[in-house]
Every structure is written in structure tokens, then in C-alpha cells.
């Protein structure tokens, strides 16, 4: 009796639902939501960079839900805080994949955090979108790399410093945080510089811990290194909030960009937001996108971001753009595959194209990397970048660098 009442009610409810369905737009609440994991540090030394990426993913889930969701289902974000703690990244990744059962994850900034979660994503066949420039030497079938490989950022930047516009540097100081990304990048750069006729005597290399604050000795040594009668430049792979005291020390010791320019690979608009940039005018950063790019897609991006974050002065930066591009590509691939199953989406990802805020059309290649334009910007007094150089086209990623001898036998592309 009770059972039949229940089924009848259920049938009525279902009928009612079916009847009202055409009246409202395809109901998002019906099917279980698609879950998007967000694995970015919201505390600790990397919070300065990663918090904005969490907000970008949340903005994009809002955006896709506003357009009726994906495959008729709502998209829901699951946010965790791995707290700049590398082993915790792996734990949180496992939690996302096994407990929250997310369909895709956007996350990580430092390479050490990516290396920490990589085995988890491979073991459980998850899908991670990694939005930050990195050192290459990796190609996991479970990761899509939407940031730059070294040939899309580091090498063009150093070439610029060695060119006429960049000041014809003949001596390079490589300063970095002590972990895998700076060390590998600098290894590639050293081989590249050697191939351009710059000997090891003209290369200085120093590493500091995360969150380092006492830069006086290093900056003084860079000054001395620059006093050998050859034009000198700094290549900085310093990550996280250690950049703030580093730039403060550069300013205090009076290092002007006209004399010793520095180019940074991990400092964007978001990091500069907390610094007085007037003493830093002319120092450089290399990225694949700057907020100052003039393009209609970028204007939309800016408007959407500022409306979402409810702050008309918030800035955008390159990893945010890479997150947005990755998210859009993923939604296109899911729509094309008709499912969120990782293997089907992976196949659908290859060849996806997105009109990016950088003003270029970016394509995902079979090596899991994007083709990207390279841009070099100078810091301006208002904390924005003045784009002084860019490639005419988006260039393909060489994630296995030809400057690392072990890669000689590897298939490229």
C-alpha cells in the first residue's frame, strides 16, 4: 500500500516535472552537477599568486552556468586549500578525485606541487589543467599544460635582453627560488647562453628558499657581478612573495632598469599590486598575455572579472588567462565528447581552439601543450606592463627542450 502510494506520487511528480520542463529553460538542477576541482594554495607563501586563480575558476563556473551549464548539467566548483604545502597537494588531489569525485581539476602553480600531484592524477586517471609557465620536461596524459614551455617564455626573453632593444646583455645573473622550476629553467638557459657564445664565467646563478626576505647580499653581489665592464641583466625565476622584498631591495640599492634590467618569469600584474612600482619602471617580465593587451576578447575578460570580483580596480594576469583558456577548451571538449569521462574528453581536447584574451587563437596540440604568443613587457609606474616586444604568431611548445642533452633521442612535437 505504502509502496504503491509512493510510486504513484513519484510518477505524478515526474509527470509534473515533465510538463513544466518546456516552460522553464532546461533545468540545471535535474541531473547531478558536473564537479570541477580547484587545487590552489589559499594560504602560505604562494597565496599571493594562487588566490586569484581560484577566483578565476569560480568566475568561469558562474559563466558556464549562466549559459545553461554543460551537457544540461550544472557545473559546481569544489575548492580545497593545499596551503603552499607540497605533500598536502597530493593529499588534496586524492581527496578531490576519490571523495569529491570531480570530473576535472584546475590547479597548482609551482612545479613542485605539480610533480607532487602528478602520480595521483595518473593513478586515478584524473584530468588536471595546469595554468602556469613551467620548465617543461614533462608530458603526462592526465595533465593539460596551458602555461608556457621554456621556448615560449624563457628563451625569447633572454634573446630580447641580448638584442639591441633589450640592452645587448653579455653577462646574465640567474636568480631563482630553490626548487625544480628555476633549477631546470636555468639549466636550459645556461645551455642556451653557452650556445650563443656566453661562457660560464659570464653567468651567475643563485638560489634562495621560498619566502626569502634578506636580499641585501645577493643584490650587492649582482651589482659587483655587473661591474666587470660588460652589459649585465638579471633573469629572475623567483617565485611567490619573496619577490616583494627582492624588488624592494633592487629599488633601495638603486639598481635602475637602464643599467641592469631584470626580466621575471613569475611576476605579473597581481604580484606587482602589492609593491610601489615607481623605482621598478623598465624592469621586464615575459609572459604570453598582459592585462594591457588591446583586444576585444581581453576587454570582455576584464569586464567579466571585475564584475565577478566586484572591484573595478582588480587586475588580470597571464596564469588567469591560461586558466580561462583551459576552462573554455575543456567546456568545448566536453560538449564535443558529450560526456565528462576523462578518456573521451582527452581525445576531444586535441585540436581545440580558443580565441584568447591575448588577441591570438590558441590551439591544444597532441603534446598536451598550447601554441602561445610570447610578449615582453616593461613595468610602468602604475603597476601595468608596457608591451615592448611580441611574436607575430603563436608558437608551438617544445616541452622537451633541445638544450637538454638527454632529450636528443626524444621525439618532439
Amino acid at each position: 500500500m505504502t509502496l504503491s502510494t509512493f510510486t504513484r506520487r513519484a510518477a505524478l511528480a515526474g509527470l509534473g516535472g515533465a510538463l513544466t520542463l518546456p516552460a522553464i529553460r532546461p533545468s540545471l538542477a535535474q541531473a547531478a552537477p558536473i564537479k570541477v576541482g580547484v587545487l590552489h594554495s589559499l594560504s602560505g607563501t604562494m597565496a599571493i599568486s594562487e588566490t586569484a586563480l581560484r577566483d578565476t575558476v569560480l568566475m568561469m563556473t558562474n559563466w558556464i552556468n549562466g549559459r545553461g551549464g554543460l551537457l544540461g548539467r550544472r557545473v559546481e566548483a569544489v575548492v580545497v586549500d593545499p596551503a603552499s604545502n607540497w605533500p598536502l597537494f597530493a593529499e588534496k588531489a586524492r581527496e578531490l578525485l576519490q571523495v569529491a569525485r570531480v570530473d576535472v581539476t584546475f590547479g597548482c602553480w609551482t612545479s613542485v606541487s605539480r610533480k607532487s600531484v602528478l602520480p595521483v592524477f595518473e593513478e586515478l586517471n584524473g584530468m588536471l589543467f595546469y595554468p602556469v609557465q613551467y620548465e617543461g620536461e614533462e608530458e603526462s596524459r592526465n595533465i593539460f599544460y596551458t602555461g608556457a614551455a621554456p621556448n615560449q617564455q624563457a628563451i625569447p626573453a633572454v634573446e630580447y635582453l641580448m638584442g639591441a632593444d633589450g640592452g645587448e646583455a653579455k653577462r646574465i645573473a640567474l636568480l631563482g627560488t630553490d626548487y625544480v622550476y628555476p633549477r631546470t629553467t636555468n639549466r636550459i638557459l645556461r645551455a642556451f647562453l653557452n650556445s650563443k657564445g656566453i661562457s660560464d664565467a659570464d653567468i651567475m646563478e643563485e638560489y634562495t628558499p621560498f619566502g626569502h626576505s634578506d636580499w641585501q647580499g645577493i643584490v650587492a653581489r649582482v651589482k659587483r657581478f655587473a661591474g666587470e665592464g660588460k652589459r649585465t641583466a638579471i633573469v629572475s625565476t623567483i617565485n611567490g612573495d619573496a619577490n616583494v622584498p627582492f624588488y624592494r631591495e633592487l629599488g633601495n640599492q638603486g639598481i635602475k632598469a637602464e643599467d641592469i634590467p631584470s626580466v621575471a618569469f613569475s611576476v605579473g600584474e597581481e604580484e606587482l599590486a602589492g609593491i610601489d612600482t615607481r623605482p621598478l619602471v623598465g624592469h621586464l617580465a615575459a609572459w604570453n598575455y598582459f592585462m594591457s593587451v588591446q583586444s576585444p576578447v581581453n576587454t570582455d575578460f576584464l569586464n567579466m572579472w571585475r564584475a565577478y570580483i566586484n572591484n573595478p580596480r582588480r587586475v588580470t594576469n597571464d596564469p588567469m588567462e591560461a586558466t580561462l583558456v583551459g576552462f573554455k577548451m575543456w567546456t568545448q571538449a566536453v560538449a564535443q565528447a558529450g560526456t565528462t569521462a576523462v578518456d573521451a574528453v582527452r581525445t576531444a581536447m586535441y585540436g581545440q581552439k580558443v580565441d584568447a584574451p591575448s588577441g591570438y587563437t590558441l590551439e591544444m596540440h597532441r603534446n598536451h601543450h598550447l601554441s602561445k604568443p610570447v610578449m615582453i613587457g616593461e613595468v610602468q609606474a602604475n603597476g601595468q606592463f608596457n608591451i615592448v616586444w611580441k611574436t607575430p604568431n603563436a608558437i608551438q611548445a617544445e616541452n622537451w627542450s633541445p638544450f637538454i642533452p638527454e632529450n636528443a633521442n626524444r621525439r618532439r612535437g
Partner: protein
């Protein structure tokens, strides 16, 4: 003097006649590509046209605008005028002419040449500096003329160096020899760089250049040692500040307070709050940093007193429990700040007197913020010593630590003294936070990075001895900075840690071991 002016005008006269027509023909180049801009700037700088300075300065400050049709506008505050011409214009549709480092370097040289004769001494100094950096033959007559008029010794010295550098770049061999010895007589790293740069182009003068560089190196050696010493003392002063509060709570009272770093962090946040609170009060805003010192002391001391009364006093004599408890409280404070202020770093701006570099005698360069922190740490140390040695509170504190029961029998309220002592130590940690906000990031994690160092200093210096804390902090700072160039930042710290471990093995009581009955407790 007027005769010299005439001489200068005569020197420039032929340039000027050519310049009048050439000037306007050159101007469109200012809105071209970076290479063209740089060339145009250099040529405008040598033309001698009186209008050049204005347009170059505007370009350098981002006040030069260009219309889509290529004509130039000059913005001066609210006023926008056409250039050349000077008719008022509408800035709509025009955008600032952008420059890059290459153009900026050319501008610096050109503007330097144009302001060598400025009536303002600071401007002439900057001009001499700029001309020194852009070495070229056309600087030579300008510098000679400027030197003839210059009376300030420091500026003269700079100009002579600049002249020597330009002569070395473009002169006869005799002039070059004189230039080499002039540069070699200085003790400037820039002069050394100029000499080394010229070495490749002048193989005939190689020996002279080597000798001059060696002479500079000998003079620089002392300066570099002094600078390394300063860096070490500066690091030592930071360690001292961080450890001083601990020297009171751990050294005198024997409480292992793992939340000490969090009191430092609270002090830094108090600085931030003071800065924000006083931002809109023009009279007080520049004083927010000095005012933050007492505020940070009170905030941290209040927290310390609450912690001592509420928790620690129940655990005296049980170090392991105290350690775990204070560690937990530290995490709670950290999380509370993270909830209240957010996980993002907070920006504490430095007042102008804490920015830039100060030149001490013998050309030793020290950064202002570090210098002030060094001075500040010594003042805080002296005040702490005075409070312990000279005040009634200090006397009671020493009495209680030496013999609690007799002190109590003499009528000292030991519980109150304990609370005050702990509050005092915590307050000093808060003061350290004010100083650290100037050189480190104000984040909830600020304290964690200093807690280990603080214990290291106190244990190394000798538990219970303020002199030991001072000597310990400074020794560790200097050793660290001396090792840094050889071992790198990461390894230097490892070496220091290993050295301390070995030292503690041999002398468990640290550098300044207390003797007598106090040491036995």
C-alpha cells in the same frame, strides 16, 4: 664667470644654427619605433636647441602625447599644448608616447648633457652621473665647460670621472692615458667597469688599465668588507629583535613559548592597522610607523599576559606540556589572523626616510631601512636592559627568578610578576614585528619563519643572558653573510646550523653561561 658663459655659447653656436631647422624635422622620430626614438633623442640632445630639454623631459615623464596623425602634444598638469607651437589643444584621441629601456637610457644621457649647467646642485650632480653613464665624444667639450664653472667639490669629482670616461671612449692615446690614471685614482665600481669595458678596445693600453683596475680593487676591498660586515650586522639585528623577547620569556622565565613568532606577527599586523587607521589623518599619517611601536608593544603584551594568566601559569615546571600548548595557541593565533585579515599579504609602506641608500664615509653604501632597523634593535636592547637593571619591576623579576619562595616571603606578588614578565617579553616580540614589517612580507606565516632562528640565538648566546643574545645574534648574522657568497644562501644557513649544533655539544650553556646558583635551576 660671464666670460666662460660666452665661451660656452660660442662652443655651441655652430651646433645651434644647424639646430633650428633640424629640430622640427627630427621631432616625428620621437613617436617612431624604439630604435628610432633612441636615435632621435640622442640627436636632439646634441642639437643645442633650447626647446629640446622641455620635450625630452616630457617624453621621459610620459607627458608627451601623440595624435593618430603623428603630431605631438605636451601635457603640463591639466594644460595640453601643441608641440612645437604652444597653442592650447584637446588631448582627446591622443595617447602617451611609450618608451622602453633603450630610449630611457638615451634620454638620461641627453638630459644629463642639457642640465650640466643647471643652477640646482642636485640636478648638476645627477647630470654628471648621467653623462658618466653615457660615454661619448660630444660630452667632452660640455664637461670641460661645466667643470670650469663648477665649485662644489663632490660634483667636480663626478664630472672629472665623467670626463675621463668620455675621453677613454673617444680620445687620443695621450688623453686616454690621463683618463685611465684619473679613473684609477677613484674608488668607484663604476669607474672600474668603465676601465674593464675599454680593455677590449685598447690592447695597447692593456697594462695601464690592469694597473688602474688593481689599484681600485685594493681600495674597494676594504669597502666590500665593510659592506659585508654591515649586511651581517643587519641580519644580526633582525635576529636580535626576534630573539630579544624570547630571551626574556625563555631565558629568564624558562617558558618554552612556541607562539613567540605569532606575537611578532601580531606586531607586524598592528603596524598595518595603524597605517590604515592613520591614512586619512594628514597630521599623523607620516608618523604611523613610530606610533606603531607602542601600539604593537601593548597589543602583543596584552595577548602575552592573557596567555600567561589563562594557560601557562598552570603548567610551570612542565616544559613539554608548555611547548605543545603554546604551539597550539600559536596555530590558533595564526588562523585567527588569517580569518580576520585574509591569507593574502598586507602591504606596509615604508616612509621615505627608510628608502634608498645612504653613503657613509669611504664610499660604503648601506640601505636606509636596514640601517634604521640596526639602530632600532640596539635601542630596544638598551631599553630592555634598563628595564631589567634599573626599575622596581626588573628588580622583582630578578628576585622571583632567583628564588621564588624567598621573593614571595619578602612580599613580592610572584604571580603578578610572572604575568608582567611574560607580557614584557611578548611586547618586545610585538616591537620586533614593527621592524620586520619593513623588510618582510606581513602575512599570517611571518612568525613561523623566525621562531627557529630566535631559539637558535637564545640557546647559542646562553640562556638567561641578554649580552649573550646580542653577541649570539650578531655572530650568527655576520657568519651567515660571510659564508653566503661562497656557499649560497641555502647552504650558508645549513653550515651555521651545523656549527651551532657542534658548539652546543661542547658548551651546552652557550656563549655566556650563567654561573652560580641561578644556573642550577
Amino acid at each position: 664667470m660671464p666670460r666662460l658663459l660666452v665661451l660656452l655659447l660660442l662652443l655651441l653656436a655652430p651646433l645651434q644654427a644647424r639646430g633650428q631647422e633640424a629640430f622640427e624635422a627630427l621631432l616625428p622620430g620621437l613617436a617612431g619605433g624604439f630604435a628610432q626614438q633612441a636615435q632621435t633623442v640622442e640627436r636632439l640632445g646634441t642639437l643645442g636647441d633650447p626647446r629640446a630639454a622641455a620635450v625630452l623631459r616630457a617624453l621621459s615623464d610620459g607627458r608627451l602625447l601623440k595624435r593618430p596623425d603623428g603630431t605631438l602634444l605636451l601635457r603640463d598638469g591639466e594644460r595640453v599644448t601643441e608641440f612645437p607651437g604652444g597653442a592650447a589643444a584637446d588631448a582627446a584621441g591622443a595617447e602617451p608616447v611609450r618608451i622602453n629601456n633603450r630610449v630611457r637610457a638615451a634620454l638620461r644621457g641627453a638630459l644629463g648633457r642639457l642640465s650640466l649647467l643647471s643652477p640646482d646642485a642636485a640636478e648638476r650632480m645627477a647630470a654628471a652621473e648621467a653623462v658618466f653613464r653615457s660615454r661619448a665624444a660630444e660630452n667632452i667639450p660640455l664637461l670641460e665647460a661645466a667643470l670650469a664653472r663648477e665649485s662644489v667639490a663632490a660634483i667636480r669629482a663626478r664630472m672629472e670621472l665623467a670626463l675621463a670616461a668620455s675621453r677613454l671612449a673617444a680620445g687620443q692615446d695621450d688623453a686616454k692615458r690621463a683618463a685611465i690614471s684619473a679613473l684609477g685614482a677613484s674608488s668607484s665600481t663604476e669607474a672600474r667597469a668603465v676601465l674593464l669595458e675599454a680593455r677590449a678596445g685598447n690592447p695597447a693600453l692593456g697594462a695601464e688599465i690592469e694597473a688602474a683596475v688593481a689599484a681600485i680593487d685594493r681600495r674597494l676591498e676594504i669597502r666590500r668588507a665593510a659592506e659585508t660586515l654591515f649586511q651581517g650586522l643587519s641580519l644580526g639585528s633582525v635576529l636580535l629583535l626576534a630573539a630579544l623577547g624570547l630571551a626574556v620569556t625563555f631565558g629568564v622565565m624558562g617558558v618554552i613559548n612556541m607562539a613567540h613568532g605569532e606575537f611578532v606577527m601580531l606586531g607586524a599586523y598592528t603596524t598595518f592597522v595603524m597605517q590604515e587607521a592613520l591614512r586619512d589623518i594628514p597630521a599623523l599619517a607620516p608618523w604611523s610607523l613610530p606610533l606603531a611601536v607602542p601600539a604593537a608593544f601593548l597589543v602583543a603584551a596584552a595577548c602575552g599576559a592573557a596567555m600567561e594568566r589563562g594557560l601557562i601559569r598552570h603548567l610551570y615546571g612542565r616544559p613539554l606540556e608548555t611547548l605543545l600548548l603554546t604551539f597550539g595557541v600559536g596555530m590558533m593565533i595564526q588562523q585567527a589572523v588569517r580569518l580576520g585579515f585574509g591569507a593574502q599579504n598586507r602591504e606596509v609602506t615604508s616612509p621615505p626616510w627608510m628608502q634608498g641608500t645612504l653613503e657613509l664615509p669611504f664610499g660604503v653604501m648601506v640601505t636606509q631601512n636596514r640601517l634604521w632597523i640596526l639602530v632600532f634593535s640596539l635601542v630596544v636592547l638598551l631599553l630592555t636592559v634598563a628595564a631589567i637593571r634599573l626599575t622596581r619591576f626588573g628588580l622583582e623579576m630578578r628576585a622571583v627568578t632567583q628564588n621564588r619562595r624567598i621573593a614571595s616571603a619578602m612580599g613580592i606578588r610572584t604571580g603578578r610578576v610572572d604575568a608582567l614578565t611574560f607580557a614584557f617579553g611578548s611586547g618586545i616580540a610585538g616591537i620586533a614585528g614593527v621592524a620586520l614589517s619593513q623588510i618582510d612580507n606581513v602575512s599570517p606565516n611571518l612568525g613561523t619563519s623566525y621562531i627557529i632562528d630566535s631559539f637558535m640565538v637564545v640557546v647559542f648566546g646562553g640562556v638567561g643572558s641578554l649580552a649573550g643574545t646580542l653577541v649570539g645574534a650578531m655572530t650568527l648574522g655576520v657568519v651567515n653573510k660571510v659564508l653566503e657568497p661562497y656557499a649560497g644562501v641555502v647552504l650558508a644557513k645549513v653550515f651555521v646550523l651545523v656549527a651551532i649544533m657542534l658548539f652546543i655539544q661542547r658548551r651546552p650553556r652557550g656563549l655566556f653561561a650563567l654561573k652560580g646558583r641561578a644556573a642550577e635551576q
